[in-house]
């Protein structure tokens, strides 16, 4: 059963054809990696999914409901959370508050005038945030200023911000970009750990090590279109992929 | 028809002043990222450079009026006239154009001193703090001027040959269109200054770096170019442009110490309508608002919408900003957060 279905999505920027008839189907509960060389259209596709960019043609259906034309907050409220390539957090808030914000969003909706009730009285929200912070080893830093954290910690924080919402679909945009091998391995472990939660994930990634460690299925994009799809093993051995993406080199 | 042409002319000289102030302001915004609330004060200082220069030229011999006994009343005859007769007289007469000789170095000095002594410590501070410190500076500057020159407006005349109005209609075969000479000079002057600034930015390597800085400050900083010194120069140029605008405006508007505050709000509106970080936008918006303001003042227009001349500038600003999110020519992301 597919949670997210992308049908014939096209997007042009001036003369450049960024997305060319993209078709994708993401199965419920799967970890689906999208790989491809730079400029293949991976990030553009992701931006279409979260409402940042509106495709020229095509359909994006999430659980049978179209996501096209929805504002980002409506897409999030529908159950799609996203981790950005460069961590997007609230740098002026504490780590705890950073995690509480999305929890409020999923509990109270996109807008609610809660002028009077103290944050301190919202035990339900606090409890969830605390749990996530424990899970992601951020508990010790809960009162720290998020803006002054290291890049790796920020990324972990952003992941926490997404997980606290119990999203049905989690989009990860190069979660290990710019990380050392050790950090990358830690992140892989972390993602494996949260895989146990059964959240459907779409991962955009360059690093094959990450892809093949995590993904159930892999789609390969090149020049704005999906050229191959399959299990990691299939993809590894697909000559078209090696041709287009790896330039013929053997993995 | 004549009336419309005249109102366009009115708009052009007004627009010239707006454009010059906005040009410097947006230069500072764009390159330095500083919200300079003291920019109106720089315009005012330019005007008072002319006042000081005229006062210097008219240092006078005082001939006591004996009919007044309880205080010193005297008739003043400038020494220049006494020494050099007619030549001296015409030097005094040409005080305002000549005062540019004083305005340029003084304003350059003021600009450099301001940037080195104060503004540069605020590049990394929040806009709120920039506003507070430059606004404080503007108050201090105007109070200093007030303590020297008083609060009353000070009359400065254009040279006799350039005052009064000229029949410019006859040049294009229309009759009865006469327009003040000095205002036309001001318009041409403002075009000249704008042209000079653009030429400087387009044709010199220095200008190229500045433009690159306006486009992407961080990258230019990474190139290892000494941005600090260039910022100082940019600030100096902006100060000179504002000062020149003020200096030449004195025959049109009698300067008083409050002049800068009167222009401050207006110049911000012009800059924002033009679009943050766009020099061309600032110039276009300056002239556009000047001309629209003139049209709105026509009795025929006021008969349809009473009080329109009171609000036209702000109304246009609202309409433009709602229709064009970043003003006429603004770039994405500049001062939007």
């Amino acid at each position: 059963m597919s949670l997210l279905a992308i049908h014939g999505v096209n997007k042009r920027f001036g003369g450049l054809r960024a997305l060319n008839d993209v078709n994708l189907s993401i199965k419920q509960g799967s970890v689906h990696a999208i790989i491809g060389p730079n400029g293949a259209g991976k990030s553009t596709l992701l931006n279409c999914l979260v409402g940042r960019i509106k495709p020229d043609e095509g359909r994006v259906d999430f659980d049978g409901r179209s996501l096209l034309g929805l504002e980002p907050q409506a897409i999030n409220q529908a159950g799609v959370a996203r981790v950005f390539q460069t961590p997007e957090i609230f740098p002026d808030l504490s780590v705890m508050e950073n995690v509480m914000m999305p929890a409020f969003a999923s509990k109270d909706g996109a807008f609610r005038i809660g002028l009077w009730r103290r944050v301190a009285d919202r035990r339900d929200v606090e409890a969830e945030a605390e749990e996530i912070l424990h899970d992601l080893n951020l508990w010790d830093q809960r009162d720290h200023h998020a803006g002054s954290m290291s890049r790796g910690d920020k990324r972990r924080l952003e992941l926490a911000m997404c997980l606290v919402q119990h999203p049905r679909l989690l989009l990860l945009d190069e979660p290990t970009a710019g990380m050392s091998r050790a950090d990358t391995n830690n992140t892989i472990d972390l993602l494996k750990k949260i895989a146990a939660r059964g959240i459907t994930k779409v991962i955009i990634e360059h690093d094959m090590h990450v892809v093949f460690s995590l993904a159930d299925r892999v789609s390969v994009m090149a020049q704005g279109t999906v050229i191959a799809e399959g299990t990691p093993a299939e993809i590894k051995n697909d000559p078209r992929v090696q041709e287009a993406y790896l330039g013929g080199a053997h993995l | 028809m004549d009336a419309l042409i005249l109102q366009v002319l009115n708009g052009l000289d007004k627009g010239g002043a707006y454009a010059l102030i906005a040009l410097g302001l947006t230069l500072i915004f764009g390159t330095l990222g500083v919200v300079n609330f003291a920019h109106g004060a720089l315009f005012m200082l330019g005007a008072f450079c002319s006042v000081s220069f005229a006062k210097l030229l008219t240092i006078s011999e005082r001939v006591r009026d004996e009919s007044v006994t309880f205080f010193e009343a005297y008739k003043e005859v400038p020494y220049l006239e006494i020494w050099w007769g007619e030549t001296g007289k015409s030097i005094v007469d040409w005080a305002v154009p000549l005062s540019l000789l004083l305005t340029v170095p003084v304003m350059l000095l003021v600009g450099v001193a301001m940037e080195r002594g104060l503004i540069r410590f605020f590049y990394k501070r929040s806009h709120a703090e920039q506003i507070l410190v430059t606004f404080g500076l503007a108050i201090v500057l105007q109070e200093i001027v007030k303590s020297f020159f008083g609060a009353n407006p000070i009359p400065l005349a254009a040279p006799a040959a350039l005052s009064g109005s000229a029949d410019i209609g006859s040049l294009v075969g229309l009759h009865g269109i006469s327009y003040p000479l000095w205002r036309m000079i001001y318009f041409v002057f403002s075009l000249g200054v704008i042209g000079a600034v653009f030429a400087f930015l387009q044709l010199t390597t220095f200008g190229m770096v500045v433009r690159a800085g306006m486009a992407d400050r961080e990258t230019v900083g990474l190139l290892g170019i000494n941005i600090g010194r260039r910022f100082t120069v940019v600030f100096g140029i902006a100060a000179v442009v504002a000062g020149l605008a003020g200096s030449m405006y004195t025959p049109i508007l009698s300067p008083n110490y409050h002049l800068g505050m009167d222009f401050l709000v207006l110049s911000f509106v012009v800059v924002v309508v033009g679009g943050m970080g766009s020099l061309g936008g600032a110039v276009v918006a300056g002239f556009l608002l000047g001309i629209l303001q003139s049209f709105a003042s026509m009795t025929q227009v006021k008969a349809i919408i009473p009080g329109i001349d009171q609000i036209i500038i702000y109304l246009v600003a609202v309409v433009i900003l709602l229709a064009l999110p970043r003003g006429l020519m603004g770039r994405r992301g500049v001062m939007e957060a």
Partner: protein, 453 residues
């Protein structure tokens, strides 16, 4: 900081006392208590009496405010018997003794109106509440005068206005506690009309540029009526935004409108700029329209404005309340006293403020008490002479002074740096006197709860 130690103790004591009173006695119990034993606002108890001088110290009229302050200081000096006495010896009938007011030494406090209603009222309140001023005086705009006047009515403190020229001050916004020595727009029109007809002929077409607020409107209306009574036509009246600065867009249509006179109902910076632009840039004074010389009129003239307008003011007709070159004993005495003290002649704003201070002090002496209702009674319908304007009446019906009005002209060949206007004609008091009822308004009660409650 040590600056405030001396007077802060006094303020502390009075404040604490007032605080106690305010907490302990709801005003309902004392509402009617004062009228019997004359408890009233700031009844001076010690050896001094404090006057509050509220003048513009910042903003465009700061220089005028500074001149008003000079006059006030001089008046206080003279009241206390110091200096040469100024106009006290010429003032008749006078009850002034030169030993302060009712034997109490006169002290004063100052404040900044900023030419804004709110700031002026805040400053006046400080003088009344903190400094215990018994009277407020000064100011340089009608808006401020009306605002402070109504405040003073509420607080039960007499307000002697400074420079305010709008008909409203003693017309629709008049108050029992407000008194105006300065003349008004109506008088300007009545005085100026015949002179204009005489100088420029009866067949004239006028174009008005008017500052777009209440003073401008009353000025425009008064000038329109007065000139039309002389047979002039009004071609157009155009309102200009206050502080417009550049008036070119309003001046360009004038010459093609068929009008041959431009009347500038502007004051201060507006007047300086519109006049200078009309004369030096649009060359209006040298134009011929309808076969006549084009003329410009500025109904309300002042020294500071003439100074600001420079050569453009030469030959321009207008009106003034007073001029230091007038040929009468009181004027000479005042000009001498002021000139000796400050090295410059007094402006008409300074003169009216000086006169108001003396008039208040004299009324207190006449009443024999500081109790405002009695002082008001002494001022109402008080007929006097010797303050520079000839015989003058403080009319009781609207608290407006009636005296001669000067028609003045910007001097063509100044003999010295202060010689900016010349008096063309002195229009007698009877000509400019009008029926108090024409502007409506209501003075209100003399006995008010005031700040003592």
């Amino acid at each position: 900081m040590s600056i405030k130690l001396e007077w802060s103790r006094r303020r502390f004591l009075t404040t604490s006392a007032a605080l106690g009173a305010g907490l302990a006695a709801p005003h309902v119990f004392v509402r009617n208590a004062w009228s019997q034993d004359k408890v009233f606002c700031n009844n001076p108890t010690g050896g001094t009496v404090t006057l509050g001088f509220n003048v513009p110290q910042s903003g465009p009229y700061a220089d005028e405010g500074a001149d008003e302050l000079r006059a006030f200081q001089l008046a206080v000096k003279h009241l206390n018997g110091e200096g040469d006495g100024g106009m006290i010896p010429t003032f008749k009938p006078s009850s002034l003794k030169g030993n302060g007011i009712l034997g109490k030494k006169v002290a004063f406090v100052t404040g900044d109106t900023q030419t804004k209603s709110d700031a002026a009222r805040a400053s006046a309140k400080r003088m009344v509440e903190a400094d215990k001023a018994i009277m407020i005086s000064g100011g340089s705009s009608s808006g401020v005068a009306v605002a402070v006047q109504s405040l003073c009515q509420d607080m039960g403190v007499i307000f002697m206005t400074g420079l305010t020229h709008s008909n409203d001050t003693t017309g629709k916004d008049k108050r029992r506690y407000g008194f105006r020595h300065f003349f008004n727009a109506y008088m300007s029109g009545v005085a100026l009309g015949p002179v204009l007809a005489e100088e420029y002929g009866k067949d004239r077409k006028a174009y008005h540029l008017t500052a777009d607020y209440t003073w401008g409107w009353t000025q425009e209306e008064s000038m329109k009526n007065a000139t039309e009574a002389q047979g002039w036509q009004t071609v157009q009246t155009v309102r200009t935004p206050l502080g417009a600065g550049d008036f070119s867009q309003y001046l360009t249509p004038v010459l093609n409108s068929g009008a041959d006179v431009l009347i500038l109902n502007h004051y201060g910076g507006d007047m300086v700029n519109s006049l200078r632009q009309a004369v030096t840039q649009f060359d209006m004074k040298s134009k011929q329209v309808n076969g006549k010389n084009f003329e410009i009129v500025v109904p309300l003239f002042s020294e500071l404005m003439a100074e600001g307008a420079g050569a453009a003011a030469k030959g321009i007709l207008g009106t003034a309340n007073w001029d230091w070159k007038l040929d009468n004993a009181a004027t000479k005495a005042f000009a001498k006293s002021f000139g000796t003290e400050y090295g410059r002649p007094p402006s008409q704003a300074a003169h009216t403020c000086y006169a108001q201070t003396l008039l208040y002090a004299n009324a207190v002496e006449m009443a024999g008490t500081f109790y405002p209702p009695e002082v008001i009674k002494a001022l109402e319908d008080f007929e006097f002479d010797g303050l520079g304007n000839g015989p003058t009446l403080y009319r009781g019906a609207d608290h407006q002074c009636f005296k001669d009005v000067l028609v003045v002209r910007g001097k063509e060949e100044p003999a010295n740096q202060f010689d900016l206007m010349e008096v063309v004609k002195i229009v007698p008091r009877d000509t400019v006197t009008y029926d108090a009822s024409i502007f409506g308004g209501e003075l209100g009660p003399a006995e008010v709860k005031g700040c003592a409650a």
